[in-house]
C-alpha cells in the first residue's frame, strides 16, 4: 500500500480524539443526541485545527449504520463509516470550492442533486471545503438551498477565512469557530501518533515540535514526519533541531548573552555562528522573539504561562538572562524583531536583515533610539538646535577580548556561567532604582517632548534648557534666559512638568527648580566643538577642491 502522510493516516476518528476543540465537540454531540441537527454548519478557524476532520466525523455520525438514528459515537466499522473514511460514499459529497469555484460547479454538484433523497444512508452531507473561494455568483446561487434545504440534507462549509464568506451565507449557517491547539494538546496528539507508530521519543522533542507548529495539528504532524524522514532512531531534541532547522536553545542563549554584553563583535560572531549552523534567518527571528517573550514572562510577570513542560533549570537560565535587561528594553527588542520579521518577507537578503536586527536590539542601540525619538520630533521644530552630546556615550562598546565578555568561543557555557548578583533585586524592582543626574539628563528629552505635545506654546520656552543638578528629589533645570525661566515657572506649567517627570521616572515626589544658566557655559560648549557649522571652512576647502575656484571674500570668517 502506498505511503500516506501522517496527518492523513491519523485523522481523528471520533469526537473524543479531537483534541483542543471541546467547545465544538460538545455542541455537536449534544445536538446530535438531542436530534437538533442544524441544516448548515460553517466551520472556521486557522489551518490544521480539525475542520475537515470534524466535517467527516459529523458525516459519519449522521449516517452510521450501527445505530438507527444519528449518533454522537459512530462505530467506525459499518459499511457507511468505512466508505466515508475512504472517501467513496455516495451521499457524502466533498467539494473543493477552491478549484471548482464557478456557479456551474455549484449547480451541477449541489443544487441539482440536493433534492433527491439519499441513495444509501440517512443524510446527504455536502462538505464544501475552502468555501471562501467560491465566486460571488456561486455563493448567491446557494442562498436559497442553504436557507431551506430538504430535510435529508446537511451542509458543512469549512474555511480558514470566514470573513470572505458573504454575510448572507453566514447568517444561514450555525457558525463554529475552531481554536488553535494548545501546546499541551499538540503534544498529546503527537504522543498518540508516535505510540501508534511504535517510535521511541523524548518528551522534550515533542515540546519543541508542538511549539514550532504554532497551534496547528497538521503542522505538528508534518514536522514530525520530517523528523522521522530525517532519522531512523528515536525522536530526540537534537534530531528535531537538525531536521526542521530549528534554532537550538544553546544558540539562542549565545545570542542573548552577546546582546546582553552590548558588544558589537560578540553579536556579529553569534549571528554568524547561528547562520553557519544552517538555521533559517526567519526562524532565528521567530525563535528569538519567543525566547525574549519567555524571559519577559518568567522574570517580569513571574508566571510560567506557555512554558508548561519546560524544566526548572531552563526557567532559571531565562531568569538569569532577563537580569541584563529592563522590561522596557525587552519590549522594545521584541518590537524591533517583529519589524525585521516583516522586512524579511520582502527581501532575499536574509542575512543582512537578521544582522541588522541583532545590532538594533543591542541595549545601546535601544536606548539611543529612545533618546532620538523625542529629539527628532524636536528638531522638526527647531532645525538649528544642537543635538546634545548624549548620543556619543551610547555608542556600542567595541572591545578587544576583555574580562567583561564571557569566553564566547564555547557554545554552551551558559549553564555554569557567572553567578549573577542577587536575583531578588531584579525580581522586586525591574525599573531604574537609583536616580542620579545622568538618568535625569537622559530622560529629560522625553519629558520635554511630552510637554511639547501637550502645549504648543511651550515650544517658545523649552528647547535649550538643561538639567544641571539634583538635590534629593529636587531637580534643577537651567534656562538660557530669564524670560523662559519665568514663563516656565508659572504654577500650572510647573505642575505639568513635575507630573510628567514623575511619570517618566516612575517615582513620585520629584519637584523642579528653575534657574537661569550663569553665562550658560554648557550651552555654548556644544556647537563650538572642532566641527564648524555648515558654512564653515571645511566646506569651503572642499569647494575649492571640487571646483576651479578661488576665495574672493569670506564674510563668515571673523
Amino acid at each position: 500500500m502506498a505511503y500516506i502522510s501522517l496527518y492523513r493516516k491519523y485523522r481523528s476518528q471520533s469526537f473524543s480524539e479531537l483534541l483542543g476543540q471541546e467547545h465544538i465537540t460538545r455542541v455537536l454531540r449534544n445536538s446530535i443526541s438531542a436530534g437538533r441537527i442544524a441544516h448548515a454548519y460553517l466551520f472556521c478557524g486557522p489551518r490544521g485545527c480539525g475542520k475537515t476532520s470534524t466535517a467527516r466525523l459529523l458525516a459519519r455520525s449522521l449516517n452510521c449504520m450501527a445505530f438507527d438514528r444519528p449518533t454522537p459515537d459512530p462505530c467506525g466499522s459499518c459499511p457507511s463509516c468505512i466508505r466515508i473514511r475512504d472517501g467513496n460514499a455516495m451521499d457524502v459529497v466533498e467539494m473543493d470550492a477552491a478549484s471548482e469555484t464557478g456557479i456551474d460547479d455549484v449547480r451541477e454538484k449541489i443544487i441539482e442533486n440536493a433534492r433527491y433523497a439519499p441513495a444509501e444512508s440517512r443524510y446527504k452531507v455536502y462538505i464544501i471545503d475552502e468555501v471562501h473561494d467560491l465566486s460571488q455568483k456561486a455563493f448567491d446561487s446557494l442562498l436559497k438551498t442553504i436557507e431551506e434545504p430538504p430535510p435529508h440534507v446537511v451542509f458543512v462549509l469549512a474555511t480558514t477565512e470566514a470573513h470572505k464568506v458573504p454575510i448572507t451565507i453566514r447568517s444561514r449557517c450555525q457558525r463554529l469557530d475552531f481554536r488553535r491547539g494548545a501546546t499541551g494538546d499538540l503534544t498529546a496528539n503527537l504522543r498518540r501518533v508516535l505510540d501508534a507508530e511504535g517510535r521511541p521519543y523524548e518528551a522534550e522533542a515533542l515540546f519543541l515540535l508542538s511549539r514550532a507548529a504554532e497551534g496547528s495539528f497538521r503542522d505538528s504532524l508534518s514536522l514530525l514526519e520530517q523528523v522521522m524522514a530525517f532519522t531512523d532512531g528515536p525522536i530526540t531534541p537534537d534530531a528535531v533541531h537538525q531536521a526542521i532547522g530549528a534554532v537550538t536553545t544553546e544558540m539562542l542563549d549565545t545570542v542573548v548573552e552577546a546582546i546582553g554584553s552590548d558588544d558589537l563583535r560578540a553579536v556579529l560572531d553569534a549571528g554568524d555562528r547561528v547562520l553557519a549552523s544552517g538555521a533559517d534567518a526567519r526562524q532565528v527571528l521567530t525563535a528569538l522573539q519567543n525566547h525574549l517573550r519567555d524571559m519577559l514572562v518568567v522574570a517580569f510577570a513571574g508566571s510560567v504561562h506557555g512554558l508548561e513542560g519546560a524544566t526548572e533549570e531552563r526557567l532559571e537560565t531565562l531568569r538569569r538572562q532577563a537580569l541584563r535587561f529592563t522590561s522596557d528594553q525587552l519590549v522594545a527588542m521584541l518590537g524591533a524583531l517583529a519589524q525585521a520579521e516583516r522586512d524579511i518577507r520582502f527581501t532575499n537578503q536574509h542575512r543582512l536583515v537578521l544582522e541588522r536586527a541583532l545590532w538594533q536590539i543591542m541595549p545601546s542601540a535601544i536606548s539611543r533610539q529612545a533618546a532620538e525619538a523625542p529629539a527628532a520630533a524636536q528638531s522638526r521644530r527647531a532645525v538649528t538646535a544642537p543635538t546634545g552630546g548624549v548620543a556619543a556615550s551610547h555608542a556600542p562598546r567595541i572591545s578587544a577580548p576583555s574580562p567583561t565578555v564571557e569566553p564566547k568561543s564555547v557554545p554552551a557555557p551558559v549553564e555554569q556561567a557567572q553567578p549573577e548578583p542577587s536575583s531578588a533585586a531584579a525580581d522586586s524592582a525591574p525599573f531604574a532604582t537609583e536616580v542620579d543626574l545622568a538618568v535625569l539628563q537622559r530622560i529629560w528629552p522625553r519629558v520635554r517632548s511630552r510637554v511639547l505635545q501637550r502645549s504648543r506654546a511651550a515650544a517658545a520656552i523649552f528647547g535649550s534648557e538643561e538639567v544641571t543638578r539634583l538635590d534629593g528629589t529636587t531637580v534643577t533645570v537651567a534656562f538660557p534666559t530669564e524670560f523662559a525661566r519665568s514663563r516656565a515657572d508659572r504654577p500650572q506649567a510647573r505642575q505639568m512638568v513635575e507630573s510628567l517627570l514623575c511619570e517618566e521616572l516612575r517615582l513620585p515626589g520629584y519637584t523642579v527648580r528653575y534657574v537661569v544658566a550663569q553665562a550658560s557655559p554648557t550651552v555654548q560648549e556644544v556647537p563650538d566643538q572642532d566641527q564648524p557649522g555648515p558654512a564653515g571652512s571645511a566646506l569651503l576647502q572642499q569647494v575649492l577642491v571640487e571646483f576651479p575656484a578661488a576665495v574672493v571674500d569670506d564674510q563668515d570668517a571673523q
Binding site: 477552491a98 478549484s99 475552502e130 524522514a229 563583535r265 520582502f346 527581501t347 555608542a395 572591545s399
Partner: protein, 400 residues
Amino acid sequence: MVEPASRSRRPAKSREIGEIPPPRPVDFVPLDRIVGLDAARSVLTGALRRNALAGTYLLKGPTGVGKTTLARAFAQAATCTSPADDGGIACGSCMSCTLVARGTHPEVLLISPSGDQTQIWQFWDRPGKPPGALERTLPFSPSVGARRVYIIERADTLNAAASNSLLKVLEEPPAYALFLLLTPNAERLLPTVVSRSQVVTLSPLPVDELEQWLVEAEGLEPHRARLIATLSEGRVGTARQLTSDAGVYEHVEAAMNLTLQLLQATPLRALKLSEQMRQIGAQLDKTTQSGDEASSPADSESGGRPRVERRGLGMVLDLMAFTLRDVLALGAGSERAYALSPECLSAARSHPETALPDRCMHAIDVLLRARRRLDQNVPPNLLTDWITTSIVVGQNRAHT
C-alpha cells in the same frame, strides 16, 4: 532626507530585481553528481528508499542554491522504473530516466510563473487559455514512469486563486503523484500550503567548501575563489554565474572601492558617486547577462532598458551592503572571513574612521531600504542619489 516614494503600492516583484540569476540548468545533473545539498538529498532519497515518500515537498533555499537542479534529479529517481539501491538512485538508462534527462518527460511537468505570477489556468483548464497541467493528467495513473511529478517553480508566485485551488490536491494527492514546490522564500506562500507540505531546506555549502570547489573544479585563483564563494554565500549556482565571465570581478572591485569612498566622502561628492554607482550597475548588468534573463517572458513583457538597468543596480547594492558588513566586522575586531579584496582591505585598515560602527550600520540600513525601493519601481537615478546623499549626510550628522 525624505525617502523617495515608490510609484506603485504593489507588493514586491516576484523575482527580486537584481538578484543574481542562477544559470539555467540546461544540462541535467543526476542526483549523485550534484555538488552539496547533502542533507536535502538524503531526506528525499531516504524517503524514497523506505517507500515513505509524501505527496508534497516544499524545497526552500536561496536563489541559486540548486532547487530546480535537485528537483529534476529527484524526479528522475522517483519516476525511474528500474531503480538501483533499493529505489534511491535512478538507473539512468530506462525510458523514463532518459526522458527526464532530456527534459521531455510527459509525466514530469515543470510549471513556472507566467509573467510575475503563477496563474490558476496553468493548473486547471480555463476558457481561452492553454490546457492546465493538472486537469487531464492528475486523475490518471502514470504510464511511462513510476510516478507523476509536478515541479512548481517559484511557488511563492502562486497567486491567491492558484494556491487555493491546489489546497485539496496537495493535502490528499493520488498515491502516484508527487508535487515538488520550489521557493526561495517560504514566507510568501500561503500558510495553508506550507502546512500541507514536507519542508526540505536546501542549505548552501559552507563558504570554505565552495571556495575549495571553485579552486579545484573550476580552476579559479584562490583570492577570487574566496571572494566569489563569499559573495555567493555558498550557493553553487550563483558562484557559477559569477565565474562565467572574467569581467565581473573587475566591476565587483569597483563597487567595493566605491563603497569605501562613500564612507569617507564629503557631501559634495555624493552625486558624483551616485553616478558611478549607476555606471558600475550598467556594466555589471552587461557582463552577467545570461540567456535566461534576457529571454524570460517576464523581462520581454516589461521590456527594454529600465528593468535591465535595475538588475545591475540591484547587484551593486548587494555588493555594497556586503562590503559594508565586512568593514563593520573588521571595525568590531571580528575574525570573520573577509570577502574584501586585498587592496580594499588595506584601504579600509588605513582609514580606521571609515569602520565606525554607527556609520556602517546606518549605511547598511540605507542600502537595505533602497533595495526594497528598487523592487517598487523607484527610478534608479533618484534612488542612487538618495542612497549616496543619505549615507554621506547621515554620517556627517553622526560625526558632529
